[in-house]
């Protein structure tokens, strides 16, 4: 299974798309499939300062609560408003409509700590 190109990935199964100084963050197809039916997503508030790899929320599936980490640091500028009423959007469109939040990146150099699509593919292939 090839991972979408143009994105960066964390070992915690988040993806990140850089657009200028703003990064959009979500969880991967692999992550949503492992979690199963998602019933609740708790995200940081807009304006929060987050640091790379910090635990900033939770994703709850029917069976379990999983911590959510941010793959990059900065200021949260937007959270996906659809997820409040439709958390399963993350299951249906993890790389598109099911994005989680956007961060104004403080240090673009932090992207060097993330994985390429091939690197992430190797990570999940290794189990």
């Amino acid at each position: 299974m090839a991972q979408p190109a143009g994105l960066l990935y964390s070992k915690e199964h988040e993806w990140l798309k850089l657009d200028g100084e703003v990064a959009t963050v979500g969880i991967t197809e692999y992550a949503q499939h492992s979690l199963g039916d998602i019933v609740y997503v708790e995200l940081p508030r807009v304006g929060a300062e987050v640091t790379q790899f910090a635990n900033i929320g939770v994703v709850e599936s029917v069976k379990a609560v999983s911590d959510l980490f941010t793959p990059i640091g900065g200021e949260v500028v937007e959270v996906n408003p659809e997820l409040e009423s439709d958390p399963a959007l993350v299951n249906r469109e993890p790389f598109a409509g099911g994005w989680l939040f956007k961060v104004r990146v403080a240090d673009v150099g932090e992207r060097d700590n993330l994985l390429s699509p091939d690197g992430y593919e190797e990570l999940i292939a290794a189990g």
């Binding site: 199963g36 039916d37 019933v39 609740y40 708790e42 939770v58 709850e60 029917v62 069976k63 609560v65 409040e84």
Partner: protein, 370 residues
């Protein structure tokens, strides 16, 4: 698929072939889901679902005195059961706590006792130690299989797989009865019982026959919407239907009275283990007890979360789910003090440091439309 090391039911290969996600459960590798828990839940409520419950233990009891003996160990009536009747019951300890909740099935000249997988060894020891002369016990745990077909279309799916007369008998069966029948050419005991809150059947059969019957059911039932279902869906279905799960709403510490299972408690029986303790508990009426709550918001509760009445912690969450059959609300059972368990009581459930409002409601959360 994660390779695990548990015992395998006779249907293990079917689960793997169907893409089931296997998890350790009571010593077995059991499917927690196939296509998805919520989809499977929906199948059972509106169409039908197929479950492998072969991890549950089947004990066979023989002897003229089985009824009288079992009456001394349990809260509900056993000896009064008629052949081909099924009945829920609870084995109790001296303090009134529950060893296990079980189903007795009375057959022509023996009894089938189905106990929870997690309690199988404990219950086998208990029965073996207390077995009087003249009663024979046989342990079929792991060798006999149990397949459940649950949902409004269960009878329509199952009846055509039985011989013509058996198919008709099956449609006419009352809830909590059983009958021997040939299903897809295989001898089985078919019971109209289940743990989902829907109409449905449970099929007891030899493990070696189980894969054939499982496949025949799936093939015949798929056009009617039958789907394989895992333990994840089963847990939500039973919780919505207000049925206790041992280890959550019932335990060696949580008695049938505290669990709200008084309907099964027959104090008219002359003597049984724990009777005095249960009588005293019921009379005192001051005990911690199980109540059902609906949470206000969208944040799910989980087992073990603290429950507050005012500023005082009064207990904890025992089971919880996002409940599709309760308007997708967050439901939970809580084990709390008497005041906190009153209908309409406003409670607080602490979730990651924040209190979330919850209101006590009547159990069950869901009853199937008649």
């Amino acid at each position: 698929m994660t390779a695990t090391q548990g015992r395998r039911t006779a249907l293990y290969d079917e689960h793997v072939a169907l893409g089931g996600r296997l998890v350790p459960f009571a010593g077995f590798d059991m499917p927690v889901q196939y296509a998805g828990i919520l989809r499977e839940h929906d199948a059972v409520r509106h169409r039908a679902g197929l479950f492998d419950l072969s991890h549950m233990a089947q004990f066979e009891l023989r002897g003229d005195e089985v009824g009288a003996w079992a009456d001394g160990l349990t809260i509900n009536n056993v000896a009064t059961m008629k052949p081909w009747q099924a009945r829920y019951n609870i084995f109790t300890n001296e303090r009134g706590g529950a060893h296990d909740d079980v189903l007795f099935y009375r057959l022509a000249d023996s009894w089938l006792l189905v106990v929870n997988a997690a309690n199988a060894d404990k219950m086998w020891r208990l029965l073996s130690e207390r077995r009087p002369a003249g009663i024979e016990l046989a342990n079929h745990h792991g060798s006999r299989a149990l397949i459940a077909v649950q949902g409004p279309r269960a009878a329509d799916i199952l009846a055509p797989l039985c011989s013509a007369d058996a198919g008709e008998r099956l449609r006419a069966m009352k809830y909590y009865t059983c009958v021997p029948a040939t299903v897809a050419g295989v001898d089985a005991l078919v019971a109209r019982t289940g743990y989902t809150g829907e109409d449905g059947f449970e099929l007891f059969l030899e493990g070696a026959d189980a894969p054939h019957v499982w496949s025949a059911l799936l093939r015949a039932g798929s056009p009617a919407g039958l789907e394989p279902c895992g333990l994840g869906a089963r847990d939500i279905l039973r919780l919505e239907a207000g049925m206790p799960l041992y280890g959550h709403e019932l335990s060696e510490e949580i008695s049938p009275v505290a669990a709200g299972q008084q309907w099964a408690l027959k104090l008219s029986k002359p003597a049984f283990v724990g009777k005095a303790a249960l009588q005293e508990q019921a009379a005192r009426d001051d005990y911690q007890r199980i109540a059902g709550v609906i949470l206000d918001g969208r944040v799910p509760a989980r087992e073990g979360y603290p429950v507050f009445l005012g500023d005082q912690q009064t207990g904890e969450v025992k089971s919880a789910a996002v409940a599709p059959s309760v308007g997708n609300r967050n439901i939970a059972t809580v084990y709390v003090g008497k005041d906190a368990a009153q209908l309409g009581a406003q409670l607080g459930i602490e979730i990651r440091g924040t209190r979330h409002a919850a209101r006590v409601v009547t159990l069950p959360f869901y009853s199937r439309p008649k």
